[in-house]
């Protein structure tokens, strides 16, 4: 039983790990912290996996647990030493058959998102991931009206940073 659960978890998570990587990228500023947060997200997902009933998609459930970890559970690790900054984050993006304008836009977008506060980061992230307001408000536990109000403010803030 435990073995089955484990196998299922590993395949679910392996296929959706990009979600966690994106969250780590917006909530941390260097590779060590990225790995640290990623590890904590993995631990929390596995710990709570028995509670995942499958009545929602694994990815939907994962957004919630991963964001909760980034916003409320994760504490900056003290062993984090200053290593390379994400300004050279581009090394991860393969330039081949990839539009350069989009690459630059993506870089600017990430650095603008990092300037937002933790809650705004979550809102913008879910917006970029094309989540409906219903899901956004359920994930954060606030009313859908408030999610909209706050989302508009976060978008304005983001736009100002992107296009001063």
């Amino acid at each position: 039983m435990q073995k089955d659960l484990e196998t299922k978890f590993l395949s679910d998570f392996e296929n959706n790990q990009n979600i966690a990587h994106k969250i780590c990228r917006i909530y941390t500023t260097n590779q060590d912290a990225h790995n640290d947060l990623f590890q904590e997200i993995t631990i929390q997902l596995w710990k709570n996996y028995p509670k995942f009933r499958g009545d929602s998609k694994f990815s939907t459930w994962m957004y919630r647990v991963a964001l909760n970890t980034a916003i409320s559970l994760y504490r900056k690790s003290t062993r984090t030493v200053k290593t390379q900054d994400f300004s050279d984050f581009a090394y991860k993006i393969k330039a081949t058959d990839y539009d350069n304008t989009e690459e630059l836009q993506l870089k600017a977008l990430y650095s603008a998102i990092r300037k937002l506060n933790d809650i705004e980061k979550a809102l913008i992230f879910l917006y970029l991931e094309d989540k409906p307001y219903k899901e956004i408000s359920e994930t954060l536990g606030i009313s859908s009206v408030n999610a909209r109000v706050k989302m508009n403010r976060a978008k304005e803030k983001l736009k100002k940073t992107l296009n001063p």
Partner: protein, 204 residues
């Protein structure tokens, strides 16, 4: 909205992470030790319960008991300790129940409320304990003045009262500062994010 739409397109076209983890690496990670804030709260809270209660073992020696007996306080000490232990038990149960309710699958706002509630349970216990200690100090001082009333002049009585007050306030003050600092560091991020969400919930 067109500006953001452009960026959104770039976002959805972003390449997958190149440093992807294999199932084996994920397995290892999933079984490693968590260093989440909830875990820290749990450890620190347990330490608080242990430290505060082991203080009594240091204070409660046979010698102090004989002193209490001399002052006729043994009944008061006995019953107040029973009450204190009952209250300790109540707080431990509440703390454990609140801790168990914390779940990363909750909505963000709910999760924060539960973490803060758990932390507050321990804070209330600490407050109770500090008040209990202060009360003890006052009762013992008042009684010892009473029993030695004839041997003391007014000046000495006032001196004892002032010294006790200063010492009590000093101890409480230092402990209070220590707690503010501890909670401040531990819960800074959480409190900030909680306020941000709470502000959303009550926009006025």
């Amino acid at each position: 909205m067109d500006l953001l739409d452009n960026y959104k397109k770039a976002w959805s076209n972003q390449p997958e992470e190149t440093n992807k983890l294999s199932a084996e690496e994920i397995y290892k990670m999933a079984h490693s030790k968590s260093s989440s804030i909830v875990k820290w709260i749990f450890i620190i809270s347990i330490l608080e319960f242990v430290v505060l209660n082991s203080l009594y073992f240091v204070i409660d020696t046979d010698e102090t008991y004989t002193e209490y007996k001399k002052m006729g306080l043994e009944n008061f000490i006995f019953y107040s300790q029973i009450v204190a232990y009952a209250i300790l038990f109540y707080f431990l149960v509440m703390f454990y129940l609140n801790y168990r309710r914390i779940s990363a699958t909750d909505a963000t706002y709910e999760l924060m409320k539960k973490i803060i509630k758990t932390r507050k349970t321990v804070r209330n216990y600490v407050l109770f304990n500090l008040s209990y200690m202060a009360l003890m100090m006052i009762v013992v001082t008042v009684t010892s003045i009473n029993t030695n009333l004839n041997a003391l002049n007014n000046k000495q009585i006032i001196l004892i009262i002032i010294t006790t007050l200063i010492v009590t306030l000093l101890i409480l003050g230092v402990l209070w500062l220590f707690y503010q600092l501890l909670y401040g560091i531990l819960l800074k991020k959480l409190n900030r994010n909680y306020k941000e969400l709470a502000k959303l919930d009550n926009p006025n």
